[in-house]
Point group: C2
Chain length 315, copies 2
């Protein structure tokens, strides 16, 4: 199969590239390297079945040409800077919504009719139901990021209906694992590396979230692509557990062997649009036979170990 | 109050303008006159409290300047050409989603913090629940039009959360009444005017839809703006009844005194992305004390009478 991966040099994208190469497929990666990192593709670039295009999804001529002849598009490129969304109100619209339209339109023009898309549990806003199933009550958006991903989902479904495209939409919890570059574990790691005696936490530390290891995530995506072949296939991807920010702080500190004094910014939310709890009902993906191999605690600890061994934690 | 109305020269917009002028408010209308009609604003233009700006929502400089100093934005401008969405795949994205962002951003820059928005029952896709309530199960989009309006709703909610804007989102069924310019009643009217002996119907004629008269709609919007003052206020707007396409054909024919031979295109849907049934649960808007004054049958008959008396049915 000829697979086209946007955001190929990102955290999730590079793992997806590796997985499809390992399976014997031909993979073309597309990345603008704004946040993607060439070293994440080190292994992939050793394969003859891998090609890499450095370009932006806003460059429609390049995108249209690249999509030509592919069998499956895995669209992962996105602005994932959720927290600072209100500081740049057009970025999510452009990079997550309009660029998804660009990808869909390239597919329509080239007659490529399968797409997998990385959406987010943030599309549920602040849900009334926990764990939250795929058909939870019609959500109200609370962040520009969530709104931009919801808009992209809507475009994908409309293209599926209107132009005969088969769509796989994955609503992720936060992911952890090797090549992890942003989120609370790296924030805490960075603080404790610089001053092991103190840690500042946004919010009140009581927020609960669910996390998934990137390897479990990629395995789930591949299983769904293989086994769920409806017109529109929507899956939550997460673990069946949640952890508090304070739990995760405990695991990070014990991994690092530190006992910092902790201060809290206060409030139920870490930032505007932050959801106090993202916890997804993953019965649907489990019904295909998938189950995560790593617990949240193991994922946090593996991520800390990766950060200790890698040169990627700068700033 | 200083009210800013986009799509002011449209079917709904011109009625909204008239209603707010009648109530003593200052109204600025904004329209690009691509589908809007100057004659719909004939009465409004006689008022000293009305100003009209002919400009496009894509002209952000003009839009930003116009929004300055307003108290309330009623954003009705949209591409409402639902049926031919798949023929121009970027139009809904541009005119309904990106232009809504332009409006929101103009409001943020000018510190205007109230918006009312015309969404649509189409955001429910093909719902599993009838009548469909505002918190129906998370919908799957079936048309570019529905997807573009859902995206606009998401942006509005994210702006409400992120920047302290008060939002009223109205999900309409199809509207009927004076100044009605497109939809099945005008299609049937036009056919029967040209050849009273025959009528061709898209789909199998068994589709059921719900309709609302524009005067009932505008009254509901004004009541919600007055009485529902939460941060985000979402209301379905429709009648508590639905009618079949064949019912409505019967009313139109008897209004016109014709008995055509009817042929059907066939299929459950009139066109790709058409929903076989839109029927909204309007208990929430009714709980504010609103109730429609006109039945669907009366609305259809009044619309036929309007079309017979007006010069707007061309082509």
């Amino acid at each position: 199969m000829k697979v086209f991966v946007t955001g190929a040099a990102g955290f999730i994208g590079s793992h997806v590239v590796d997985a499809f190469l390992a399976d014997g497929h031909e993979v073309m990666g597309y990345d603008n390297f704004v946040t993607g990192r060439l070293e994440f593709l080190k292994s992939a670039r050793g394969s003859e079945r891998f090609t890499l295009i450095e370009a932006d999804l806003e460059d429609r001529a390049k995108l249209n040409a690249a999509v030509e002849g592919r069998d499956l598009v895995i669209h992962l490129a996105a602005n994932a800077d959720v927290r600072f969304g209100t500081l740049h109100p057009r970025k999510d619209l452009e990079q997550n919504t309009i660029c998804t339209w660009n990808v869909l339109e390239a597919m329509r023009l080239a007659n490529v009719n399968r797409i997998a898309f990385s959406s987010t549990g943030s599309v549920y806003g602040e849900p009334s139901m926990f764990p939250t199933p795929e058909d939870a009550p019609f959500p109200v958006q609370t962040s520009l990021y969530g709104a931009s991903k919801l808009a992209a989902e809507g475009l994908i479904c409309a293209y599926a209906e209107g132009y005969g495209i088969e769509a796989h939409i994955f609503r992720f919890v936060s992911l952890l694992g090797a090549r992890y570059t942003h989120g609370h574990v790296v924030d805490f790691y960075r603080q404790l590396r610089d001053h092991p005696d103190r840690l500042h936490v946004l919010g009140n530390g009581k927020q609960r979230k669910s996390y998934l290891h990137v390897s479990d995530c990629v395995r789930a995506m591949r299983m769904a692509l293989e086994k769920a072949r409806g017109k529109i296939n929507i899956f939550n991807l997460g673990t069946d557990e949640s952890c508090g920010v304070n739990d995760s702080i405990g695991w990070i500190c014990s991994s690092l062997g530190v006992s910092p004094a902790i201060t809290y910014g206060g409030g139920e939310r870490g930032w505007i649009g932050d959801s106090p709890l993202i916890f997804l009902d993953c019965a649907k993906i489990r019904s295909l036979g998938w189950t995560p191999e790593l617990s949240i605690r193991e994922s946090v600890e593996l991520t800390v170990r990766y950060l200790q061994g890698s040169g990627h934690v700068t700033a």
